[in-house]
Symmetry: C2
Subunit: 220 residues, 2 copies
């Protein structure tokens, strides 16, 4: 194995171990020692990639909004829905995402580390801006404003689903959220063509799996 | 002062002191000692009304959904919007409501004490069911489902507003949330008549103040 490839693998192992520890314990209670132990790497290797606990948490946050599961569609709004529904499908089973939720929701770590919220708002804003250019979104819609409403609503939906159902109803709640927000922003002819069913995320993931088996295996 | 009136005042003083302490410290860190000190009552008086910390927290949760600020309107949906917008106006300045938010969001206290979420969902369900009977709400809408979406979204909007703006933009975010959800559930002829402006809560509170000065003074 080339040295560079080894470095990439080590970095990934450290990041995944950090995500698992942050997801389970939260920022304050997470220790470098436990992350080292889980990653099975030396202290030197960890500090080569991440100089501090803050840097580890920021690495986890930066890993939130990857575009790996993106499947192009005829409608940009469908791509936005797909991004939300695959996230709802993946969240309960991927420590990297669970860690992002927990770090972003923690008042203390948000002060020190920041949160994934601005990046998520940016993702939605960019989907909606493209959809608006194509005429899928109603003319009065301000993408950045809708993105803020959606961000808040999505955080709350996650929260309630975790608290009341241990995530079991997250896809159902996410589907209902889209059904309650899309009519306010979507051109009528587009609205009727959108698929927001609760199993949409699972179906998109099956497509991704067919195209790229390595990716879709993550988190299972 | 009659004995019964004194008892009512003592109970209220204890509940307000408990709310202030729960809002500031959370459930786990709140102590009966501090609540006694703030309420300025004897241990005996406190335990006469609330037998335990659990009972105090439950008293605070039960005080969340009072209907004191209700002003009847021609449209039931406007009454629902008014309930949301006055809540957004009151929340940052009323320890009783802040305590309810903090207790309901706390995983540990929710296990022991319960949360205000079911009561809030019930309030929304009942507004929407009445609005549907009157034809204000579209026929396909299931009030209890919309109430769950709104509950999650509202919790998230609170959360993001507190974290990002110290509550300063709560009314603006609440107004935007209504604007993004009402088109999905509202009959078109009703939708155009609803007032969801960010200052709606302040204006309704001014009306309440004019009708009943004692009530509207709370929390200021």
């Amino acid at each position: 194995m080339a040295q560079q490839e080894r470095a990439v693998r080590t970095r990934r192992a450290v990041l995944e171990a950090a995500a698992a520890v942050f997801a389970e314990r939260g920022y304050a209670a997470a220790t470098i020692g436990e992350i080292l132990h889980r990653a099975g790497v030396t202290k030197g290797a960890l500090y080569f990639h991440f100089g501090s606990k803050v840097a580890l948490a920021q690495g986890v946050l930066q890993a939130q909004t990857g575009n790996d599961y993106h499947v192009p569609r005829g409608l940009k709004l469908q791509e936005w829905v797909d991004a939300g529904m695959t996230l709802a499908w993946r969240l309960p089973q991927e420590p990297m995402l669970l860690a992002g939720v927990r770090l972003s929701a923690d008042l203390h770590s948000r002060d020190v580390v920041g949160s994934a919220w601005p990046a998520w708002a940016e993702v939605t804003t960019s989907f909606l801006a493209e959809a608006k250019e194509r005429g899928e979104v109603l003319p009065h819609v301000v993408p950045a404003e809708t993105a803020q409403v959606f961000l808040g609503a999505w955080i709350g939906v996650q929260y309630v689903s975790q608290a009341m159902a241990g995530w079991a109803d997250l896809e159902m709640r996410m589907s209902a959220l889209f059904n309650h927000m899309l009519p306010a922003i979507t051109a009528p002819a587009v609205l009727v063509r959108l698929d927001t069913a609760p199993d949409r995320g699972a179906r998109v993931m099956a497509e991704v799996r067919a195209q790229s088996p390595a990716l879709a295996g993550a988190g299972q």
